[in-house]
Amino acid sequence: MNSIKQKILKDRLFEIAIIFFTALSVLPLILILFQVVKNGIGAINLEFFTHLPLPPGEKGGGILNAIVGSFELVFIASIFAIPLGVLIGVFLAEYKNKLTDFLTVLVDVLQSTPSIVIGIIAYLWVVVPLRRFSALSGSVALAIMMLPLIIKHTKETLKMVPSTLKEASYALGANYTSTLLKVLLPSALGGILTGILLSISRVFGETAPLLFTAFGNPFFNINPLKSVESLPLLIFKYALSPYDDWHRIAWGASLVLILIVLSLNILVKLIIEKWEARF
């Protein structure tokens, strides 16, 4: 009897410990959100989204240039990264040889490469030859950062598609191309989309690779060949400035950034729940 009581007691203690540590780890996250919302909510109004920043000292102004710039950077990066990433993912999932082994290692290395290094690469590849900072160069840097996630998700979900589907397609007389396009990729669509959205939400908040590529721009610009503002860059600059108004704007921009990333993640969850193919 005694030993059973001891066991029950141990059980309870362990349960309490788990709950305690879980709460402890979630706490910083809640504090961050709380802090950002508390400081940022005051800055947000319609003008904040529709106006450009004003010089220090003047009241009001917004971050329209940064919001548009961020979306532009990610949009162009997606144009590069999605087709390339999906194709490489398909290649890695469908073949197994020395080349694919090598590529797999490369993708892992790329994923753990510091983002500042990727920024330097983009600087060397794009900024130096064009002799100017540009949205394009920033997008190249972001695209390189997006690739590993897209490749890995594409590869893993394609590998999860049962081989029987491929066989069924062949047995109906289909060739490889239509099997890939009409059976395999649609079946893996949920996973591929998840990878794409996760990679977008990841690079949305990147600052380092943009420092010497997109560079930042206090004016409104959508020309990809000119420098462009982005949310993380703006936060970086405004937070380091000595002006209280600018600090307020930095908090507001942080809140906007967090909300965008959060909604992307929620979207991913919805896709996984609703869109994932059942096999």
Partner: protein, 253 residues
Amino acid sequence: MGSAILKIRNLYAGYKDGGWVLKGINLDIYKNKITAIMGPSGCGKSTFIRCINRMHEVVDGARIRGEIYLDDRSIFGMHPIIVRRKIGMVFQRPNPFPTMSIYDNVIAGYILNGIKLKREEKDHIVEDALKKVFLWDEVKDKLHVKGTFLSGGQQQRLCIARSLAMGPEVLLLDEPTSALDPKATRVIEDLLEELKKDFTIIIVTHNASQAARISDYTAFFYLGELVEYEETERIFTVPKHPKTQEYLSGKFG
């Protein structure tokens, strides 16, 4: 007896490594009959039917030798796509395409081969194929629901309908009921009995009772060789070969 629709002559097949998995198979498959291929695991029965619709060659490093004639024409002289349209295949686990509706699953062969059909033609093919597998009444009100929402037995019948929609002459079934419960199995078995009026059926099974129940002819494979091929009634009452006798009395396999 009836006439032979498929003639297999001196067939050898193997994979990248190792020797032949099938060793010199000679066999005639009779039209509008159910032929069961039985044998213990690893006897080459699955490889055998995969040779018949040239699915064996899809495997990396697969080797094949010998001849298979469909209506006296060598299948190796035909394009694999044509062969597979004339010889449909149903697999062990029901595998409807998860992204397609029931409707699209039935005409998947046409979709995948890029064959354009008029709306009425499609409707007709879908209804006809689903009726042949006794699925029409069960699904006619939800044709645009995904095929994977059906039960296992219904999914397997959907897969049979998908093969039938291509208008094949021969239907290959690779242990089609091994993933199904007894009731769904019975439905499939009764269905095959109906289908043999219009098609020639070859079914691989490791279940001797099933082979006995549904087939007209039974081939017993052992270690890659065709040990005995006979009318089912004979092979299950007076098998000629001692290995068949041992297998049927449960001594191995």
